[in-house]
Amino acid sequence: MRALVRPAQYLALAAYIAFLGFPLLWLVSASLKSSAELNSLTVSLIPQDVRWDNFGQALERQGLVRSASNSLVVALVSTALVVLLALPAAYALARFRGALRALGTGWILVSQVFPVILVILPLFLILRTVGLTDSLLGLTLVHTTYTLPFALWMLQGYVAAIPTDLEEAGAMDGANRASVLRRIVFPLLMPGVVATAMFSFVSSWNEFFFALVLLQSPENYTLPITLKMFIGGEGKVALGPLAAGSVLAAIPSIVFFSIMQKRLTGGLLSGAVKG
């Protein structure tokens, strides 16, 4: 009985690896296959001959590069805004107790269960009255607003981890408040800022629903919307370039997530569980 435990565990682990990894391998393999092979009836994970022209074709396609650059701009600007707004607020949330903190934390939790479908209708109307529908600026503001609560939650955890003693010590040594923040708090907070920034970037880069509702003209599409249109538009889908485009779209998020891997381990609940 005992001797069977290890092999059973490895069998289960292999099943998980296959379930989690196979779809990815298939996508990558499809992006490397020729269109003749993709349309043939032989199905194989390993491409007969590896070709890179799907990537070339995907990039040549009207709109893909443009929408990738749209996505990049929206993600970068909203990330910058999120960090700028969240930094002072996270500090306040972690350091000042009382009603403010309770309200802030409450809102962060509510935002996790926010009924986006109910909000999108008035949001659309509000943005339309100020001419920000079908605009990258409008989308950027929306991404900023909806990433902010979780970013705040992440950051305030990092602030709370910095002992107040350090700040007091700095103040004792005659540094004023601003220079305590600049010389002591911010350097220690950098890893947290980096993690939060990567999280915000990935959220915006991956986001689909707001972009779908708010953007109308193809020149404003972000990458997820353009990829979705690839499927619908042409009747018979050009699978190779679609797979190649998908691989390219997934790369930034996967890279950032792998870097963040360690910091994500606690996840959303770590703060809640440790109290």
Binding site: V5, Q9, Y10, A12, L13, Y16, I17, F19, L20, L24, W26, L27, L85, P88, A89, L93, F96, G104, W107, Q112, V113, P115, I117, L118, V119, L121, P122, L123, F124, L125, L141, T145, Y146, L148, P149, L152, I162, P163, L166, A169, G170, M172, W205, F208, L212, V213, P224, K228, I231, L239, A243, S246, A249, A250, I254, Q261, L264, G267, L269, V273
Partner: protein
């Protein structure tokens, strides 16, 4: 996080009389409060304008006959939208599908993630690889996930059908277009996407359980199954409760994945309530009516969740 140690000089005793100290403390508290407000205000502003205000307006919209047109004229119609909604069979069918989807994805996620977390907590090779693999679905854009699984499920050149054919099973199933397989097929994708986050959370919980508990239990002769039931599960209980609640809400609110996989088809078999409401608002342009649907969905979720959390709390107390 490592923090450099700073040697701190002992604070010199501050001579002061009681009254001035009190007054000073009062103004200090006030100044601190003002400072806190100033720090929070910049992030409060976008949240108020772009998420609190829309939420309030959204609830109000539900009581109007608003339509999505260039020059909208709204009239309050009281509860008329809700009365109409009661008789709308399509909405309730979509609601039922949404519940089936959210409950089954959440449960399967929990079971699958628990298994994986236990394996990752055990001392096995390939752990690093599995950990990375387990994070990737979480990181990928939902659109890409959907495109990828459309290829897996593809009726002609898909690996799933090819695999089934190779072992002599029927290999001509059109998974996403068949009335009976579409919803289960979509649920599998939902589990694939949501498993990582649950795994990571459970794993963090597992690592917090003191090893002595397990040792003590095995001293008492408890087998693996018994230890899991009487040590692991009870210790994880608060985490399981929170992650299932969150997963349920996330799954119930999910949109992008199924929208790209099936757009609610075939024949509305995967028409999640969010898709249904979206189509009512932006295709049929009845935003007042759609808002009423949104309100109903939110209320139901809140009621269900309160009931669940309440029952969990009571169970906790009775222990």
């Amino acid at each position: 996080m490592s923090v450099p140690t700073v040697t701190r000089p002992d604070p010199a005793p501050v001579p002061s009389t009681g009254r001035t100290r009190d007054r000073r403390r009062g103004t200090v508290a006030q100044a601190r409060r003002r400072e806190a407000a100033a720090l929070v205000l910049p992030s409060l502003l976008p949240v108020l304008v772009l998420s609190v205000a829309p939420l309030v307006v959204g609830v109000l919209l539900a009581f109007t006959d608003a339509r999505l047109v260039r020059r909208p004229e709204y009239a309050f119609v009281g509860a008329e939208n809700f009365e109409r909604l009661l008789g709308n069979g399509f909405f309730w069918e979509s609601f039922r599908i949404g519940m089936v989807w959210a409950v089954s994805v959440t449960l399967l996620q929990l079971v699958a993630a628990m298994g994986l977390a236990l394996l990752l907590a055990a001392d096995l090779r390939l752990k690093g690889l599995t950990r990375v693999l387990a994070l990737i679905p979480w990181a990928m854009p939902p659109v890409v996930v959907a495109i990828m699984w459309r290829m897996i499920y593809s009726p002609n050149a898909g690996p799933l059908n090819a695999g089934l054919g190779a072992v002599g099973l029927p290999d001509d199933i059109n998974w996403l277009a068949d009335f009976s397989t579409a919803l289960p097929a979509v649920v599998v994708v939902g589990v694939w996407v949501g498993m990582p986050q649950t795994t990571v959370t459970l794993l963090a919980g597992l690592q917090q359980i003191p090893g002595e508990l397990h040792e003590a239990a095995s001293m008492d002769g408890a087998g693996a199954m018994r230890r899991f039931r009487s040590v692991t599960l009870p210790s994880l209980r608060p985490i399981i409760t929170s992650i299932t609640s969150l997963n349920f809400i996330w799954n119930f609110n999910s949109f992008s994945l199924v929208y790209v996989l099936t757009e609610g088809g075939p024949g509305g078999k995967t028409m999640l309530p969010m898709l249904f409401t979206y189509l009512e608002a932006f295709k049929n342009r009845n935003i007042g009516y759609a808002a009423a649907m949104g309100v109903v969905l939110v209320v139901v979720v809140v009621v269900l969740l309160t009931a669940y959390l309440w029952s969990q709390l009571r169970e906790e107390r009775s222990r």
